[in-house]
Symmetry: D3
Subunit: 137 residues, 6 copies
């Protein structure tokens, strides 16, 4: 059984490499390399899996799952600049792919504490683009 | 090839255990334990898999699939109280997880009769929460 | 300038009249007259109007608007039975139309205190049905 | 007859006043005053009104309307920082209300050239908040 | 009080004038002039207004409203070619504007019979384009 | 890591077999067998998988992915009649299942050239129906 919780956050970001020239950044990252930043309303889907408890009918308490996501992710990134201010994005290029990996790494352990297993992290950057990460295999 | 049909229903429910005290029910099930009921607009996605018929270009006739879902699920649960009135929920805690399992059990056999195989049952309780069940393995 | 805030709640309800027979209730209110209740995920849009403050660029602080809607509406109706438990629905048939009127009457005064004017209350019962109320004129 | 065109853009912004202290900015503008910026996927609805041409069945050519919105708005603001880089936001607090007014002022004249009249500008900052402006009356 | 019912239909259409050359049709109507047709999933919102009945809490019975829309519109246009097969589109250019006017003319009278008044007809051709018609004034 | 790009197109189609009588076509394909065509706004989700480049943080450049989908699919099918005008649908029954297979076959090779692998093609014909294809295994 898989259960999924949707959360929202918005943040500024910029895609660029310091070791690239400005024109190389523009060529590789396009409009996303704007030095003055831009931002998105991100939508995050966290899917966990586990057995249904015969006692409660739950895989896990969704309220607790929501609190874990807020404490580890939303409270740190919402209304923030993910290149500068978000500890779990330090040292990573601020692509949606890297964001999904970082969110996975933040959530994998705490979700074990509620007796379930993280299955996937899906991040929508716009209505037209999303990435999904299932961990290292 | 996988094909998916979306259907809607709304229903009242309550999460609680008779062997719990009221305060224990409130602690475990939160606002969902309200003795006076509450309800949702549920969204149901039924995914089936099979080979594409060279004769029709279909895995299965979607109209027939819709009729199966209506006959076995929607007609029984729509505008109903799922704790009291829905035969396939009898004896189950009315969690979304248990609802998905019950729907799976209702649909697995009839979908075989149309030459396909049930792949997953996904139930959205709100815009922010859904469960997905792929059967016992 | 008009600003709109969307909120969600879910609730059980039943449409019926005590002075009707069961068959008359069924005839007039259809499946919505189910004595065992059913429920919905309601979506509420509150639109207010006012001048844009040159100091803040706001008509009103959206956070404050959200708090008003939560205090007067959401906290009272979310996960509740609107026929039994919701003070502002006492004595009213629990139709979406009457719900919109009741929400208008609850919000009209508190919205004046934040220097704006209530313009409309829109309530979606399902994806396919909504009502909108602009007050008495 | 009213016709509406939806467009998208994303941008960074910050709500603050230079004549406020940091703590005053935080008090008035909340998380939106973050000095390191944040951003949104904005959704823009431009509604125009006019007579239906008996020759074409159109109020106006939607492709031309789309080009006008792109030339005057989207090309200037998409993937940009609206406090720093967007000419039509210069000297304005970057609230959604002011953004809608600025978009109105940019579009009002060019829409006259295609034989229609601007009716409203609606800007969604998130799924839960939008503003709508109908011009000065 | 305003109540709105959403319905769906899909249809083929083509925008062109017989008295135009092919190249003129292409210039004016673009890809929509394709002689081999194309089509859309249209979304129709019908808004009616009226007083709330103290007896039922309704402006009008939504089920009856839905039946009127199906009988007069959906049953005639769904899965059809609106240039060839739809009586109420005969002699009209198949633009979304003209479609909205034709739907208005079909619905205005039957809605009076249920004690309400047609307020607006909104037709979405795609997620990005819609028209809204309020009748002749 | 999986990344998904959403695209839209609309097209006319008809489901029928030349070797069936009209009544047999109607029986098997229902309203979709209308000889005068009908059409849909299709929504296409293309999911690719691959490793995240440490240099760019990308699995693949989404702009390039979008261009591939436009060149091979959208430019050929948008505003077209898929039974008559679309090369990759020649000789196939115009069902959504066959459309997904044809899109898979068109995209599989070009996506290899950008260093990723096609994972799935999902096609939504309406809000209520979609198919998903993962290739031959």
């Amino acid at each position: 059984m898989f259960i999924t919780r949707r959360e929202h956050f918005n943040a500024a970001h910029r895609l660029y490499r310091e070791d690239y020239t400005d024109s190389r950044n523009l060529e590789v990252f396009g409009k996303c390399s704007n030095p003055n930043w831009h931002g998105h309303n991100y939508v995050l889907y966290v899917t966990i899996k586990g057995e249904v408890s015969p006692e409660t009918g739950f895989v896990a308490n969704l309220k607790t799952l929501g609190e874990i996501i807020h404490q580890h992710i939303i409270d740190k990134i919402d209304h923030k600049n993910m290149n500068i201010e978000v500890d779990f994005m330090k040292g990573r290029l601020a692509s949606t792919e890297n964001l999904a990996i970082a969110i996975w790494e933040e959530l994998e352990t705490p979700i074990k504490y509620i007796g379930a297993e993280l299955h996937s992290v899906r991040v929508h950057e716009t209505e037209n683009n999303y990435v999904e990460y299932f961990g290292k295999h």
